[in-house]
């Protein structure tokens, strides 16, 4: 049974609809990441789950209880805020214990709970300090401690890592993942960082303009994106998109990639596409991730459908672990992710390979995946 169930949720600010017909269910112990560009409504959605924003219509269930009209403190949830929102006038221990104090938990019980949470998060030595005396990472831990101590049925995280520097962010990401694995907590997490979404989630919900674009496992969202927006948003560098049309040559249907040259490049229809829905002459957009564009040798040996071609190298971006190479297919720029020591030089022609097992097709009019 789902711990969190959102059905037909709508939220309007005046005449502007910021959340349109959201349906999401999250099982117990799941890690749901709401991801999308800024202004997509992901934080609003989180606030409606928290009860900090009223909803216009629909239903939110936590456990087997409809919580639409419950006060935030009665919803059995805890939230970690982007700014951590630690009370500056209270010590760390008081911050963690404030919720229990408000609910009238006796002092000895409070102290026991604070001590055990502090132990889990390794902040025992900080309990007497004020938030202003803590570093960003320590504040983050205290904020998580304040949530943990309540033992809620759902944890809500609102972009908790966005105020940390890059290195600490990766550390804390790992920390949150470890916490999730160790406690089996149910978590809803908001971020605009697709990398955080991919690494943390058991379930990703991609939002755009208040509309749910896709809900699925990280693998589904990454490899079988529902539409061009999702495909483009997830993954860095972004997926390559190439226009083409379905043609028949040698009795087989191919995609002829649009080209300014006389001869369009012909490639087979990727296995992921539903070929029955395609007719000759249909316009399509081929989406292929940079890691599926490679040099001839290092292309995945198990790949069933590979197209080799040669192209000139335009730009090389060495990134240490990989080398990103920009080349042109039919006049359109394509990024390839290659080995760090790949033998490529700017201006030189090279043989490249497209691994079509990893490619997807989109309908240019609806932008949905075929």
């Amino acid at each position: 049974m789902a711990t969190l169930e959102i059905s037909a949720l709508r939220k309007r600010f005046g005449t502007i609809e910021v959340l349109k017909d959201i349906d999401i269910a999250l099982e117990k112990g799941g890690f749901l990441v709401l991801v999308g560009p800024s202004g997509c409504g992901k934080s609003t959605l989180l606030n409606t789950i928290a009860g900090l924003e009223p909803i216009s219509s629909g239903e939110i269930r936590i456990g087997d209880q409809v919580v639409n009209h419950l006060h935030p403190s009665k919803r059995d949830i805890a939230m970690v805020f982007q700014s951590y929102a630690l009370y500056p006038n209270m010590s760390v221990a008081e911050n963690i214990g404030f919720g229990m104090e408000m609910r009238g938990v006796a002092k000895p019980d409070r102290e026991k709970a604070i001590a055990s949470v502090a132990k889990t998060l390794q902040i025992e030595h900080l309990l007497d300090r004020r938030p202003s005396q803590l570093s960003g990472g320590q504040r983050q831990r205290v904020a998580m401690g304040r949530a943990l101590v309540r033992r809620p049925s759902i944890f809500l995280f609102d972009e908790p890592l966005s105020n940390l520097d890059a290195k600490l962010r990766v550390d804390m990401r790992l920390e949150i993942k470890r916490l999730h694995q160790a406690t089996g907590a149910t978590i809803v997490y908001v971020t605009h960082d697709q990398m955080e979404a991919m690494t943390l989630a058991t379930k990703i919900a991609v939002l755009k303009n208040g509309e749910l674009q896709q809900v699925g496992s990280p693998d589904e969202v990454y490899n079988r994106p529902a539409n061009i927006f999702v495909a483009d948003f997830m993954g860095s560098p972004a997926m390559n998109f190439l226009r083409g049309a379905i043609t028949r040559t040698d009795g087989k249907r191919h995609i002829a990639l649009a080209s300014k040259d006389a001869l369009p490049m012909m490639i087979p229809i990727p296995a992921s596409a539903d070929a029955t829905r395609l007719n000759e002459g249909d316009q399509v957009i081929l989406g292929i991730r940079p890691e599926a564009v490679n040099d001839g040798e290092s292309v995945d040996r198990n790949a069933r459908s590979v197209v080799r071609f040669s192209a000139n190298v335009d730009i090389i971006e060495p990134a240490g672990s990989d080398t990103f190479v920009v080349l042109k297919i039919g006049g359109k720029e394509v990024t390839a992710r290659m080995r760090a020591d790949a033998d490529v030089r700017v201006g030189q022609s090279n043989t490249f390979a497209l691994n079509l097992d990893k490619a997807v097709l989109f309908d240019p009019t609806t932008t949905c995946r075929i």
Partner: protein, 315 residues
């Protein structure tokens, strides 16, 4: 030595600042204005410490030849205030204290509460309500005296009725209470303005976090907002204290005779037309009248600038 030190230290560094001439001009001007400001106070202090014959016969700026604190003692409990009263200004000083302390505390707390509601619990039309409250800041007080007198008169009659019914007037009709009411009402505009601007920059996430922790409206106010309002609290208290303590208009209008505040008593003392004008006693009384506000500034002054800045940066 770090790399940064290596780069910035050494002969290449020159002291940046105004030239000597500029500095002389700046300090000269500052000194001049300080003197202009301090001369009256110095004259008051010197005069208050001289016997009367030295005051009338000598130079205003001369140091006292026969140092005496007698004028201070006289001002405090012997000076003639008005026609019949010769008990000095002490009673009126405490009248002012009894008026100022509750008026400052009540108006400041209500201002804080207003600021809290106007920023964190906004309701439709909150901007209009705030705009109307600001009228209290800009309205000339002379224009409200007569309506205020009518209202205070009604409150007084209510007090009499209550006294008939219950044996206690709940303080209504008492002129100190009247002054507290008037000062709270006309102080609210400023205190609300101060706190609203301060709380506008107060992170709303703290309020949300406290809500999720189960704190109620007043618990959030008392446990989260107030403990984090020290600078603006001090600014407001100083501002209100100075204004209310120094008020003459309301004091002279709504409180007469024995219940008049310090400012009115000082006026009566100085304007007494019988006998010789005792300048030394008058000066001592004037300093006593100004002392509490000076005291508040000295104690809390450093917060004053800080708090004004805190409110001024945003909001």
């Amino acid at each position: 030595m770090s790399a940064v030190d290596l780069v910035t230290s050494g002969a290449g560094r020159r002291r940046i600042g105004p030239s000597l001439t500029t500095r002389i001009v700046i300090y000269g001007l500052l000194l001049l204005f300080a003197v202009i400001y301090l001369v009256p106070l110095a004259v008051m202090l010197l005069t208050s410490l001289k016997p009367l014959d030295e005051v009338t016969g000598g130079n205003m700026f001369a140091l006292p030849r026969h140092f005496t604190v007698e004028p201070w003692a006289r001002a405090w409990d012997e000076a003639r205030i008005g026609v019949s009263d010769t008990r000095g200004i002490s009673g009126y000083f405490f009248n002012s204290v009894k008026m100022v302390v509750p008026a400052v505390l009540i108006s400041t707390l209500l201002g804080a509460l207003n600021g809290y509601v106007l920023t964190k619990w906004t309701f439709p039309g909150h901007k209009l309500v705030f705009g109307m409250m600001l009228f209290a800041c800009f309205i000339p007080f002379q224009s409200v005296i007569i309506p205020m007198a009518v209202i205070l008169g009604m409150l007084g009659r209510l007090g009499t009725n209550l006294a008939d019914l219950t044996g206690w007037s709940f303080g209504l009709g008492n002129s100190t209470v009247n002054l507290v009411v008037v000062h709270v009402i006309y102080g609210l505009g400023f205190t609300t303005l101060f706190f609203r601007n301060y709380y506008a920059t107060f992170p709303s996430e703290l309020i949300k976090a406290a809500m999720m922790d189960g704190a109620s409206f007043f618990q959030i106010f008392r446990r989260i907002l107030l403990p984090n309002s020290t600078p603006i609290f001090i600014v407001t208290v100083i501002y209100q204290f100075t204004n209310i303590w120094n008020d003459f208009l309301f004091g002279s209008t709504f409180a007469a005779g024995d219940s008049a505040p310090m400012t009115v008593a000082l006026n009566n003392l100085v304007n007494t037309s019988t006998g010789v004008v005792e300048y030394n006693t008058n000066m001592a009384a004037a300093i006593i009248a100004a002392a509490p506000t000076l005291f508040v500034y000295v104690i809390a002054g450093r917060y004053f600038v800080r708090g004004l800045m805190a409110g001024a940066v945003k909001g």
